[in-house]
Amino acid sequence: MLGLRGVRKSYGANEVVCGIDLELSAGECFGLLGPNGAGKTTTLRLALGLTDPDAGDIRLLGYAVPLQAREARLRVGVVPQTDNLDPDFTVFENLLVYGRYFGLRDGEIAARIPPLLEFAGLEARSGARIQTLSGGMKRRLSLARALVNDPELIFLDEPTTGLDPQARHLIWERLKRLVAEGKTILLTTHFMDEAERLCRRLAIMDRGRIIAEGSPQQLIVRHIEPQVVEVYGDGALSWAQEHGRVLCQRCEQAGETIFCYTHDGDRVLATLGGREELRYLHRRANLEDVFLKLTGRDLRD
């Protein structure tokens, strides 16, 4: 569906995409994870032919991009990072006008709109102006708009950033439905639970490079110890000196909290017994642990 090979892109002296390879097969939901500024959005723009690579090959639905990007985009849907719905139009008109950009006839689009509104949970809002919609509704309308041309492949750039939990769950449920219908999805996110829940395969991107790739489970097994003990409280630092660093494979400090990565949680817990000043959480390692290990804990702006 989408193949990138050795793709590079620089802005001035700053290389934002440093030779990445990606392969999406039909019907999968693929997640591109990375901190802010990792190059995720630029990768999407490259894949859509909106900016030219300095090097490398891009194929989108069998078309060479950017040369035949126009033909390829005919069968692709895009949900952008920030909503750019048309504020002068109603919900219905937004879908109608957008469909026309794909060369669809008005009758054809009008027939597609009711099921799209139903999909987006906006049946009652067909005539509503965009300003009257909530953030979650706008996102759902953006998703419906991306489906107006019945695309085979859908790009979603941080689809749930800024949404409340209810709205996020609804978007997730809809995305799962799309995958069940056989659509292929490429989404970028920095929410690990989103990636873990939706994506069959993931790539973690940092500083323009793909630094890990695989299923969520594979990534956890491959890159990190299976158990985590988080310890915090007054004596956490001294406990870490005394026990944590000795017992654990890796021991990291973030603010007041010690993260102990280990194969044997029980041995760690044994040292915590009876120390009331310490509070702790024992859990299985998750994707966020992998992400933080691979991309570091430093802030990215």
């Binding site: 802005y11 859509l48 909106l50 900016t51 030219d52 126009r70 033909e71 985009r73 005919l74 692709v76 895009v78 952008p80 920030t82 750019n84 719905l85 048309d86 504020p87 002068d88 139009f89 008109e93 006008v97 957008y98 026309r100 950009y101 794909f102 060369g103 041309n149």
Partner: protein
């Protein structure tokens, strides 16, 4: 800048859908938008035409208000195309990100820029025709040659729509457009013969005036209003068309640089 930014325009017929989008929005707000566009030039023309005109003898052999009306057709068209290509196009490009949304479809940036230039021209034609209708209603001209003013407004609209889009491609914010008005549009209004004959200006300013597109528009419109075939009409048309083509190409190059790198 990349060499690709300088490539010749590549447009598809889909550009019409972008024009249609703007038309749909305009239709919703047509009446206030028309009033806003028309009131200003119309008041200038009627106020100065009757007020100042009553103090003046004939100008170039015609009543002052007729003289002014011919200039106002061009001025009004220019203004309307300029506002559309600056403020409205900029809000679609930068504020609403409408162009970004369109770029995710099989549309090219070239389609969008062409549609915007044509849209600005279309809107400005209405402003020009409105003044033309006043000329007819007030009986300032009875010549069938005035019908040629309609295609002329299309050309003026394309010229100033394209030039405006150059500014839009460069603008960091709405404030930037003030430079364009102060440095380009206002001098144009005062030097190109809208309110008084260019011949009244000192020679140096006359030379400047001869290079400005609005002068050529007025050199076409004024004889038409008085029922004469313009002298060297082809030359004026070529100058306006050259400004339109150069403006469009430059706007395209700069917008590509802005959005596609």
């Amino acid at each position: 800048m990349r060499t690709k930014d300088f490539a010749p325009p590549r447009v598809s017929r889909r550009f019409a859908q972008v024009w249609k989008r703007n038309f749909l929005v305009w239709r919703k707000l047509a009446i206030p938008s028309m009033l806003g566009n028309l009131a200003d030039p119309m008041l200038y023309m009627l106020g100065l035409g009757f007020g100042l005109g009553s103090l003046l003898p004939e100008v170039n052999g015609i009543p002052y208000i007729t003289f002014l009306a011919a200039g106002t057709v061009c001025y009004s068209t220019m203004n309307s195309a300029t506002f559309e290509a600056l403020y409205s196009a900029f809000s679609r490009l930068h504020v609403q990100k409408t162009w970004d949304a369109i770029l995710n479809t099989p549309m090219n940036l070239d389609d969008i820029v062409l549609a915007e230039a044509l849209w600005a021209a279309s809107k400005s034609v209405l402003s020009g025709i409105a003044i033309l209708v006043i000329i007819w209603v007030l009986g300032l001209s009875h010549s069938p040659l005035t019908l040629w003013i309609i295609p002329l407004t299309v050309l003026i609209g394309l010229t100033f729509g394209s030039l405006g889009l150059v500014m839009t491609a460069l603008a960091p914010s709405y404030d930037f457009f003030l430079y364009y008005f102060t440095l380009v549009i206002t001098p144009m209004v005062l030097l190109c013969g809208v309110f008084f004959p260019v011949a009244q200006l000192p020679p140096l300013l006359q030379d400047v005036s001869a290079a400005l597109p609005l002068t050529h528009a007025i050199d076409l419109a004024r004889p038409l209003v008085t029922g004469r075939v313009p002298h060297l009409a082809w030359l004026h048309v070529v100058v306006l068309a050259a400004y339109a083509a150069a403006g469009f190409y430059l706007a395209l190059v700069l917008t590509r640089r802005r959005l596609l790198t």
